[in-house]
Every structure is written in C-alpha cells, then in structure tokens.
Assembly symmetry: C2
Homo-oligomer: 350 residues x 2
C-alpha cells in the first residue's frame, strides 16, 4: 500500500512576524533546522522512503514558485502543486486533497500534514504512520496522538477509547484548546493526547465522510478542482468556487462528528507545532547576538546584530526592516502588532 | 570683552551605541532637537551673539570634515578646527585651547564647552556666562553650577563658598560622582550644585595655572601645537607629542587644586548631560514605532520599524545593522556590549 503525502502549506504564520511575511510565511523559513519547515516536512514523508509517493503540496496562491524552488533544493519532485486562491482552512484542503487523490486511486492512503510542525524523530514518525496505516486501510480516519509533556493550553486534545489495532485506538472525543484546569485534568486522566493535526485515511473515506458531514465544502472543493487551471507547473483552484467554500477546521467538520476517527497513541517523536516565537529556539550563541547579563530570552536575527543587556523573558527578533520586542510569556501579542501594521497601511512590512 | 567659544567635541559616546559610532559619535547626531548636539552647542555661543567670537572646535582626528560640514549647515564659520590624534581627556584639551587662544590674545575669555550637553534655554545660558565673565576677567576660573533637581549619582557636585560677585561664588570643593547617601546630603545641604563641565577663564590664567599644576600636560600641549600640521583646513596636533600627554580631567588637574576656581550659581537653564540612552527622549509616537501594551520605554530607530509588545522599562534602539535592548535603569550596560564588540573584532559595528 502506497502512502500519498499531502502537505498543507497555506498558513500565513502571522505570529512569527517579523521574519514570517506574506511573501515568505514561517513554513518556508529555516527556524528550527538547517532546512525550512516545509522542506523538513517534505523529506520526512516522500518517495525517498519505502512505501511513500512524492508529495502533493497545497499552498497559497502566490507560493507556487517558492514551493517548487524549495523542493528542488532537496531534490524532491512534487506529485502536484495545488494553489489556493484564498485561505479556506483545513477542511477545504482535506476535501480538495481527497477529491484530487481519489481521481487517480480512490483507495490510496492520504497522509495529510501541516508544513509548520517540527518533528525531531522522522523515522519514529514513519513508524507511527505504519501503525496507523492498518486502521486507515480498514476505513478509519486516523490521527496521531502526541504523548503530552505538560498541560499545554494551546493545543487540542484527543481522548482515546477502545483499542482497535496495536497502538491504535478509537478517538472517543476531540477537545479544542482547553483552559488550564481542563488541560491538567486531561494529563492526570492519562487517556488524552495532544492532537498533532496530522491525518491518515483512504482518499475515498475522507471524500465520502466530507460529502456526508459537510456537503457544501465537498461540493466547493469538487467545483474548484473541476474548474482549476494550470499555472506555471502548478494547478490553480478556481477562485470563485473555492472562495465560496465555508472556512472550517477538519477537526470540527469531520473528526468530531464521524464514527470513523481513530488515533495512533502515544506518538513520541519530538513533535512541536511552531506556532509562535515561544516554540522557536533562541540564537543566543549566534555570531550576531551579544548577551550581557541577559538570560531566558528568545533572540533571533536574520542580519542585524542584536545586543541584549540585563533583560530576561523577552522575545527579540530582528530583520533588516523591522524589530520585535515582546514578552516571552505573551507571544500572542505579535498578532496585535500585525493588525496595527495593517491599520497603518504598512504593506511592505506584512 | 570678547568671549572665545571652544567646543570640546572629541568624545566617543560609547554608551549611546548603536547610533553613536566611532565615525559618527553622539555629539554629531540629532538625538534631542532637530539639530545635532554639536550644532546646538555651536549656535548657543558663537558670533551670531553680541560679544562672542566664532568657535574653535577641538575634535577627534577623523572628524574634521564632519565638523566643517555640520558648521556649514548652520552657517557658522569656525575660527579654527583642531584635530586630536588620540583622545587625552579634558585637561589636555583645556591646555591646547589656552595655548592656542593666548597666542592671539592672552586676555581673551575662553568659554570651554562639551559638545554633548543639551541646554534648553540658550539665552539663559548666555546670561549666566555674562555673570561669570566678571569673575573670569578678574582672574578666576569659572564653572557653572546647575540647580540640582535630584540626588543624581552620575554627576559631579561643586560646593559653593564665599560670594565673589553677584551670583558668583568661590568654588570651595569639587566632588566626583558621589554615592546615593552623599548625593542626598549635598541636596539637603543646599550649597552644592551639579558641575556642568563648562568653564570660563582668561586664556593666560588657564595657561599659567596648568603650567604650575600640571607642567607635563602644558608642555605636551605646547609641543603638540608647535609641531602641528595643517590638514584639510584644520590643524592636526602632533601625534607623538600629544599622545605623550597624561590623560586627566580638568577638574582633577586644575579645578580641585587651584585657588582661583569660582562658580556661577545657580544656573537654571534646562541642562542635561546626554551621557546615555536614559537621557534621550523616546520616539514612541514616531511612524516607525508600534507599541502594544508597552509603556515607559525609550525607543529610537533610525530606520527599521520597532514593534514593542507588553514590555516596559526598556531601552530599544535600532539602526540598519544593530539592535540594542537593555534595561532602562541600567543604561551603563551598553559599555559592556561595546567592549564585547571590540573583543569579537566587529569593527564595522563600533
């Protein structure tokens, strides 16, 4: 059974401003390793590994050439590059992917992955995928449950139910980002895992469940694909059709409602959702950072020297045209800054 | 009686890094007003005002063209520009100035001023100079005592003694930067004033007192002047002679030891020694600063946008190639950063 990787690379990465920009969102930056997060995602699950095909990439309308270039750098040939004329969240992406892959082989196993997650142990991840494949072949929509390290309130949680296969359980319930008390309850309970936002299923299963649970989304996806046009070696979804698609998450639209959801758990592969500067390692020891009596800061620069003296608990990020200084415990503030940039019409900084 | 302004412009302004650089020290930057501090100093006391001559400028060896350019911008013709081959502190500058001016008129009153002080009330300052001139003509070396606003531990203090002329007193003692307790005692006592580091005296008086109290310095100054060479419209002191000159402050070498020191007090002209970022106003409302829940910071940029979120009590300064983030209550840390830059050999950032 061949696994068809589909990389969701349409995110904007606002909270990683000023490095993440409209023209170059976070997944295309080298924030965690010597490769971009998109490249790491592609290398993790591609034709270089037994049983995997080359990836389908679904990305923002303006990022086709960037995707092609970043794949060429790591010698991966994309199966297809599909361009979203506008962002419509993960359910729409899953619907497009299911429809597209099912055209070729409706029993193909789709591995749907966000491009902005870091996974330290790639081989471990593929082992987890192999475990999940049995359930997916049997008709389940499989998620991956990360062994929770702490009561994180920024992640979703999945409750495990009955055991279906070795290391694979029924997904009994999905919990959106919980409050602290609930998160602590989940950790203590022991049956809950972080929702990695990675999915594995037969193309036809997702297509049919999506059609049943969210017919509008599936119809919009089919229409957007049907009227898609070639564009510089990529395929551009029809704008009118795709922009009419409701914007919702695959968790909300499908996973919470279907009786087919399953979870591989625990998955312990050093998984991190690189959502904000809080999840990015500091560059304290870089040549262009100087710290004097400064500790516990996240410092990154793509050029200017950053000198920090006597400060702690800060995020300091500098690019050639913008500098961010924020509290580390409130990395979400970055969104408010980006909003202010929009309000001031500073398009060149977005 | 004509007053001969002499501007001491040889400082490096290390603590105002990253804007202040070797090639462009703080006195040549527009940090406080729409003009540079050097320009403000020159305009405050120059031939545009009755009784004043055009300034003699004593500056760093590489800054002659910069001085000429900044004076041209404000339509002031320098009397002379004298280049220091190396920095040798204020006593050496005073010695050179005294010898140089005395050559033309040994009774001329020299007004010796640092180029990096801000004075809000220029007319008030010239009134204070007029008060001091009587004592200077009578043979005193006059300082200016600033009405202290608070027990600042970064300034020197002067104790007033007997009254000599209206608003002019004998300077009974000089106190280096005191500790907090001493500073509070001085303020409470009422006879102490901040030492503005500005001096007024007859050229011959300083020349003779310097020769008596610091013959090595006076000899080195004479020799450096005697062997000086013209250089692009300026006069370059002889390097061998000047570098042999001991490096000490005029306060230590002359003022604390002579019995001729006097003080105009109180002088209340909005005086500030712009020594560190703590003394510079924030640019919060500038177009290239965004603050979200950020208060009480000193923020300056000469280009990149600075976005501050959720932080307070910080100094944030950005240039095209360097960013400083330091605690506002420890602006002195900047020195340590500059030391580290030197250690790393990052000459282009100094």
């Amino acid at each position: 059974m061949k696994i068809q990787p589909v990389i969701m690379s349409g995110g904007s990465g606002t909270r990683l401003w000023p490095m993440s920009r409209k023209a170059l969102p976070k997944q295309f930056l080298k924030l965690v390793t010597a490769r971009t997060m998109f490249q790491d995602t592609a290398l993790r699950a591609c034709g270089k590994h037994d049983g995997y095909g080359d990836p389908v990439v679904i990305c923002g309308g303006g990022h086709g050439p960037l995707v092609a270039e970043q794949l060429a750098e790591i010698a991966i040939q994309p199966a297809d590059i599909i361009l979203e004329p506008c962002p419509r969240n993960t359910a729409a992406v899953a619907a497009v992917a299911a429809a597209w892959v099912a055209r070729g082989d409706e029993d193909a196993l789709i591995l749907l992955m966000p491009a902005d997650h870091h996974i330290a142990d790639d081989a471990g991840f593929r082992n987890a995928v192999a475990l999940g494949a049995k359930a997916a072949e049997a008709g389940n929509i499989v998620t991956f449950g990360i062994a929770a390290q702490n009561p994180h309130t920024g992640y979703g949680y999945i409750e495990t139910g009955e055991r279906l296969f070795p290391s694979v359980y029924e997904a009994a319930s999905f919990k959106e980002k919980p409050d602290r008390a609930a998160a602590e309850r989940y950790i203590k309970d022991g049956r809950y895992y972080w929702n990695a936002g990675i999915f594995l299923y037969r193309a036809s299963v997702m297509r049919d469940e999506m059609a049943r649970l969210a017919p509008e989304i599936m119809a919009a996806a089919n229409k957007a694909l049907g009227q898609a046009a070639p564009s510089d070696g990529a395929l551009r979804l029809d704008e009118a059709a795709f922009s009419a698609c409701p914007s919702d998450s695959i968790d909300y639209v499908v996973m919470e409602k279907t009786d087919k959801s399953a979870i591989v758990a625990p998955v312990d592969v050093g998984w991190t959702d690189i959502g904000s500067w809080s999840e990015v390692a500091s560059d304290d020891n870089s040549d262009n950072v100087i710290c004097v009596n400064a500790a516990n800061n996240i410092i990154r620069s793509d050029g200017p020297l950053i000198a920090a003296a006597g400060v702690e608990g800060l995020i300091i990020v500098a690019t050639g045209d913008a500098v961010l200084v924020a509290r580390r415990d409130n990395a979400q503030d970055v969104r408010a800054i980006v909003e202010e940039l929009k309000k001031r019409g500073l398009q060149h900084l977005l």
